[in-house]
Structure formats: structure tokens, C-alpha cells
């Protein structure tokens, strides 16, 4: 394996791992805050129990997110010193601001998790709000960096060197709004659907359990609107990609030849050698309609770009199909949910809908991985679109295969442990005695303090 490929793989694995936890760090605090706010209003202990149980799971996921994020900050240099040397001064600003968002997030999460009986209820809720807001803000800051990599602005390129930099302009990349909106919605849709799916599954077993009914309602309150908006936001993104990153769009759609009235391709396996697609279904003029909102529009194909500037077309195309497919399914289920609620029916008494929700549980997370694959692999061979090639940014350090193997092993193990912990410790129906106990997550960390 070449060192460049090892570095790319290590970056990809680290990001693919981190994003799962980061998304939970954006989504779960909102769910907890909604539950706690309800509790303050209704004094219904179910709401409090929900907030507390969710916060236990969040504590585990947040810790893993924080450490894997630390790995990423170092890896930007460990793997891509060339990138950081060039881009650091330009895009360091959002990273620095993100640092402060992390601070607020970590500080108030500590207060939220361990402060249940140390501060007044309103202050506690406010701490939760701070966590939710700073989680969303950190996500937005880091995606601003990525938007800059996709559509860089705020500098002049003189003989390959970046000069005359303007870090404020760099924040206003043409992809910035589209990407931050799409990512933030993705976080809420994915978390909401995952939580809803888990509780739907438990409701199929115990349809009368009020605890799961409440959890489902809150999770869908967050997840369903986001999932419904996601295709719209995705369309905005796609048109932006068509304009600023035409090679990526061509790869997403496996469009080898520039065409007027370009068709939309469903499925299919692109072959980069023969420049053809096997097994796809074409919808006439569909792509032109979607990308330009005009059925006659001309869409640039891969033939407009030198062969060495193509990303890996099958990966990008398939990942895009996966995201859009799952996104469509989630949006349809969200519509179904809204339709059911509008007719004043109980979702919990609708086994088919519960089953659909259970099936959709992982969809958001898979769509997120697929979407990032589109963005990142679709940008290749560039690390900064049109400015710096990935191959020129990689570290000179040899033997990267070993660090890749080490981190992969670490992440696989961590992933297994996290899933096991959530399954065995967190995802449970409350037992009778649970209702009587004011549970404090801090108690679990100090077995002996109670005893002494």
C-alpha cells in the first residue's frame, strides 16, 4: 500500500468514525433539552427519566467523540502537513472559534451530566441548551472549513503560492451555506430517526409502555421535520456542486459525456475505462431539471476534465445513490408520521409504521457516511479544490501503513465496545423500581462514596 493511500485511508477512517459521535453530540442534547423542558412544564417523571437516560448514553458517545476529534486535529498535521502549512492561516479562524465552542460544549456537558442535584432545575436546563447550541455551532464551524476546501475563496494564487489572504472571505465560501445547512439538518434527522427507531422497536414488543411512547414522540419531533427538509436542502447543495465543482457532479451522476437534456441515472455501475454505465435506469432530462431547473440545460460531463483529474467515479456515484435513496425513504416515512399525527392517530398503535421506523433507524447515519464519501472522494485528486493536490499535501513520513493499521484496529475495537455498552447498559425499558428512584448518573462513577 502506498503511503499516500494509507494516509487517505487513515483520514477517511478517522473522520468516518468521528462523524458518528459528532452527530450524536449535535442531536442528542436537543432531545434531552426537549424532554427536560417538558418535565419542567408538566412535572411528569417520565420526561425526567428520559432526559436522564438519554444523558447517560450521550455521556459515553460524547467522550468517544471528544477523543476521536482530538485525533483529527493532530492528524491534519500528522498526515497532511502540506495542507496545513498552506491552509492553516486561512482557515484556522473557524477552527479556533470551534475550539471555544468545544470548550462551552464540554463545560456545560459536565455541568449537565453531573450537576442534576447541584444546581437549580432552570440552570440545569440552561446548561443543556448551552450544550445543544455549542454542539451545533462546532459542527457549523468545522463544516465551514470543509466548504472552503470544496470551493476555496479569500486568497490570490500567484505561481501556485497562496497570497493576499482574507480569512473572513474564506469563511464565505460559496458552498458554506449549503453545506452547513445540509449537515446540521443531517445531524438532527439522523439522531432523531435513530432514537425513534430504537424506541419503535421496543414499542413493538411492549406497545403500552408510556416511556417509549414519550421517547418516540420527542425523537420524531426533532427527526421528522429535519428528514423532510433534507431533500430540499440536498437539492440546493447539488445545484451548488454543479456550479462550483462540476467534475464532482459529473462523478456523482456518472455522466461521462457533456449533454444537453442530461438524463438522471438511477442505480448503475460506471466503468471508468469504457466510460459507460451498466445496469442503470435513465430518467430523460432528469439531471438537467434537477441541477439547473431547466430540462434543456447542458450539464458538463467528465469529458470536460483531464483523466487524471477525475475522482473515482463508481465510489462517488454509488455513495450518492445510497444517500439519496436513504434520504428519500426517510422523508417518506417522515411524511407518513406527520400524516398519522395529523389524523390524531397514535403512532405507537400503528405496527407497520413502527416497523418502518425501526428499519429506518440506521439510515441517517449511513446517509451521512455516504454523503461525506461523495464530498471527499468526489473532490479528489484535490485536497483544496483547484489549488492543492492531495498527493502534494501528504507527510513525507514513511511506513504510514502501520499507523493506519493501528488506528483502524483501535477504532474497530472502540466501535464494538460502544455498541455493546449502549446495548447492555443504556437501551433498556425501565423496570418497576426505576420509577421510584431518582437516578443520578454521577452515582455510577462513585460506587464507594455511597457506601462510606
Amino acid at each position: 500500500m502506498s503511503d499516500l493511500f494509507a494516509a487517505r485511508s487513515q483520514m477517511a477512517i478517522s473522520l468516518a468514525f468521528h462523524i458518528l459521535f459528532a452527530v450524536v453530540g449535535i442531536g442528542m442534547p436537543l432531545l434531552m433539552v426537549v424532554a427536560e423542558r417538558r418535565w419542567l412544564a408538566t412535572k411528569d417523571p417520565i420526561d425526567l427519566e428520559l432526559a436522564k437516560r438519554w444523558s447517560k448514553g450521550t455521556a459515553i458517545l460524547f467522550a468517544v467523540g471528544a477523543v476521536s476529534g482530538t485525533v483529527l486535529s493532530f492528524e491534519l498535521g500528522l498526515l497532511w502537513p502540506g495542507f496545513m502549512e498552506l491552509a492553516g492561516p486561512l482557515i484556522g479562524l473557524p477552527f479556533s472559534l470551534e475550539g471555544f465552542a468545544f470548550f462551552t460544549e464540554a463545560i456545560f456537558l459536565g455541568i449537565y451530566l453531573y450537576g442534576w442535584d447541584r444546581i437549580p432545575p432552570r440552570a440545569h436546563l440552561l446548561a443543556g441548551v448551552m450544550v445543544a447550541v455549542s454542539g451545533a455551532v462546532s459542527g457549523i464551524f468545522v463544516v465551514l472549513v470543509n466548504a472552503w476546501m470544496n470551493a476555496p475563496t479569500g486568497f490570490e494564487l500567484v505561481n501556485g503560492a497562496i497570497t493576499n489572504i482574507d480569512p473572513i472571505k474564506a469563511l464565505q465560501s460559496p458552498a458554506a451555506f449549503q453545506q452547513t445547512l445540509h449537515m446540521t439538518l443531517a445531524a438532527y434527522a439522523a439522531t432523531g430517526f435513530a432514537v425513534a427507531g430504537i424506541h419503535a422497536l421496543l414499542l413493538l414488543r411492549e406497545p403500552m409502555n408510556t416511556f417509549h411512547r414519550r421517547a418516540l414522540a420527542i425523537a420524531l419531533l426533532v427527526g421528522a421535520p429535519a428528514a423532510l427538509l433534507q431533500p430540499i436542502s440536498g437539492d440546493i447543495s447539488a445545484r451548488n456542486v454543479a456550479r462550483y465543482q462540476p467534475a464532482k457532479l459529473a462523478a456523482m451522476e456518472a455522466l461521462f459525456e457533456t449533454r444537453r437534456s442530461a438524463p438522471l441515472l438511477l442505480g448503475g455501475w460506471p466503468d471508468m475505462e469504457t466510460r459507460t454505465v451498466r445496469y442503470g435506469i435513465e430518467i430523460p432530462a432528469g439531471l438537467s431539471l434537477l441541477a439547473a431547473h431547466d430540462p434543456d440545460a447542458e450539464i458538463a460531463g467528465l469529458d470536460q476534465f483531464p483523466r487524471e483529474d477525475w475522482p473515482h467515479v463508481p465510489t462517488v456515484h454509488v455513495a450518492f445513490q445510497v444517500m439519496v435513496g436513504l434520504g428519500t425513504a426517510m422523508a417518506l416515512v417522515a411524511l407518513w408520521v406527520i400524516w398519522t399525527v395529523a389524523r390524531r392517530r397514535q403512532i405507537a398503535e400503528h405496527p407497520l409504521l413502527l416497523k418502518a421506523l425501526a428499519v429506518c433507524a440506521p439510515f441517517g447515519f449511513i446517509a451521512i457516511e455516504a454523503g461525506w464519501t461523495v464530498t471527499e472522494v468526489g473532490r479528489q485528486p484535490w485536497v483544496v479544490h483547484g489549488v492543492l493536490r492531495t498527493a502534494d499535501a501528504v507527510t513525507p513520513m514513511p511506513g504510514l501503513t502501520y499507523t493506519l493499521a493501528g488506528f483502524t484496529l483501535l477504532y474497530v475495537l472502540l466501535g464494538i465496545v460502544v455498541v455493546w455498552m449502549l446495548y447492555s447498559q443504556i437501551i433498556k425499558s425501565p423496570r418497576d423500581q426505576d420509577w421510584h428512584r431518582i437516578y443520578s448518573p454521577a452515582a455510577a462513577t462513585r460506587p464507594a462514596t455511597e457506601a462510606r
Binding site: 447517560k56 455521556a59 459515553i60 467522550a63 468517544v64 471528544a66 477523543v67 482530538t70 485525533v71 486535529s73 493532530f74 491534519l76 498535521g77 500528522l78 502537513p81 502540506g82 496545513m84 502549512e85 498552506l86 492553516g88 492561516p89 484556522g92 479562524l93 477552527f95 479556533s96 472559534l97 470551534e98 475550539g99 471555544f100 468545544f102 470548550f103 462551552t104 464540554a106 463545560i107 456537558l109 459536565g110 451530566l113 453531573y114 450537576g115 447541584r118 489572504i165 480569512p167 507527510t395 513525507p396 513520513m397 514513511p398 499507523t403 493501528g406 483501535l410 465496545v417 455498552m421 447498559q425 454521577a442 455510577a444 462513577t445 462513585r446 460506587p447 464507594a448 462514596t449 462510606r452
Partner: protein, 333 residues
Amino acid sequence: MPPLGLADLVAGAVVLGLTAYVLLAGADFGGGVWDLFASGPRREHQRSLIAHAIAPVWEANHVWLILVIVLLFTCFPPAFSRLTIALHVPLSLVLLGIVLRGSAFIFRSYAPEYSTEQRSWGRVFAIASLVTPVLLGVALGAIAAGQVNRPSGRGFVEDYLAPWASPFTASVGAFTLALFAFLAAVYLTVESRESDLQEDFRKRALAAGGAVFVTAFLTLLLAWRESPLVWHGLTASARAIPVHLVTGTAAILAFWGLWSRRYRVARVAPAAQVVGIVWGWALAQYPYILPPTLTLQDAAAPHITLKLVSIGLGVGAVVLLPSLWYLFRVFKR
């Protein structure tokens, strides 16, 4: 000396961040070390006191490191890229340690009480807490010794191992570990409400204080032999003298406080000691960021970046400082 500029200001913020990291996260690592060495009849009590002290704050404390890294790559990009290239191996190991320490700590907290699962995670947490500070110290030692340069292309060993594998860096590693353990033990004397536990940690603090002294002496000795740069900075430069005075006084105060069981004094004194050590080192190598060749000025990002980051730091501090104050008021009265 040229007038201080923006680059110096931001570099000051980096050193400040590092100081906070050592003072706060350093003690969290030290706590893990004492978890590993928990012993005697109150062993489980010691462990739970440590866990209890660390749980609400370690993630916030950890962010100081991220701030340092981010400031480095934003404001001093060539220094960051040199560091991450030459110190790829120890930094990767530090990351491994950070990941294992943090996740094992949280897994332990949520594993079934008194289970083997919980005990195993406790072990992982404790061992990672011991190893990570050593590696961190080794990396810092390599910077101080002036070993972080562009790779020469002579080979893997020369470029990627030699810069950080030396008796001097090893002794800085040991010194860092001793310092973190010392801080933790001292803080834990204040944290514990029981006099028995307090005694346990007082003894540990005295032992660790001794280790700090010995490793510091060893480091100085090795610096004299191996790293003229550090030796010169620490001994010959006029800037260093007041800092030495602070550090020395603080060390004496710390011992006195521990000896006479004045734990509040004992808590402040080592903190002052750490401030002295970190700033002493920073001043000793000023104006270099990576001695002996790369100065702050040469490594600094364009003026506009420094300016915006300084503003960002100011605005950030307005949010951060009250939040931090609140966190510590809630949990660390």
C-alpha cells in the same frame, strides 16, 4: 530585544493554553496514575475519589490541548508542520494514549459496578494515564532540545526516531509524569473530605514531590551534557532568573504546606510551580518557537490571521472564562 508584536501575543496565548493544560488536564492524568497505584485498606475509596474528582471536568480540561494545537497550526503553520512530521511517532502514541484514557474512563463509569469489565477498563484508564504524560514530555523535550527540524532524508531512524529518542527527552518525560502525579496528589488532598484519605494522598504528594525534584535535577544534568541550548537558556539567560525564583519558592512552599497539612497552601504552590516551569521554558527558548532555527517571527502566519485570531481569542475568552468559573464553582468548591 525588538518590541513585542502580535506574534508574541499569540505565542503567549499558546503558552497560556499549555499552562492551563498542564495544571488541569495534567492533574487528570495524574489522577489516573494514582488509580494505578491505589493501595492499602482504602484502595477503592482512593479510586472513587479520583473518579469523582475527574468525571465532570476532564473533557473541558482536555480542550486546552486542542486550543494549543489549533493556535499552532493557524498562527505558526511551519512550526506545526515540522512538529507533526518530526514527532509523528511519539505524537501518534500520545493520541493512542488520549483515546484509550478517555474512552476507558467513560466505559468504566458506565460498566456494571464491581464487574470484571469495570475493573479491566479501570486498568486501561490507569495505564494510559501513566504512559501518555511520558510521551507528551518526550515530545516537548525534543522541542526544547532543538531536535525538531525538517527531515534531512537520511533515513527513518535519523529523521523520525532520533529527534525524540534520547536520554534527555526520556528524562523530560519522567519529569512530566512526576509533575502530573504531584499535582494530582496535592489536589486530591483538598478534594477528600476524610482525614484518612487525605493522609493517603499527602504521602503520595510528598513522594511525587520528591520525584519531581529528582527528575528535574536529572533533566538539568542531561541538558548540560546533551542539550547546550536548554542548559544555556535555563542557566545563563537573565530572563530566566525571576522565573527560577518563583519556581523555587513555590516548591518550598508546596513542601511546607504538605508537611504541615495546610492543604489550601499546598494546592496553590504547585500550581505556581507549574506556571514557573512552563513559562521558564518558554522564556528560555524565546524568540525561537522551534530552536535552534525557527523563530516566532519566521513561523508566524500573515498579520491579518494573527489579528483575527487575537480578536477571536478575546471574544472567546469572554464566553470561556465565566463558563469555566461556573464549572469549577459547581464542582470544585
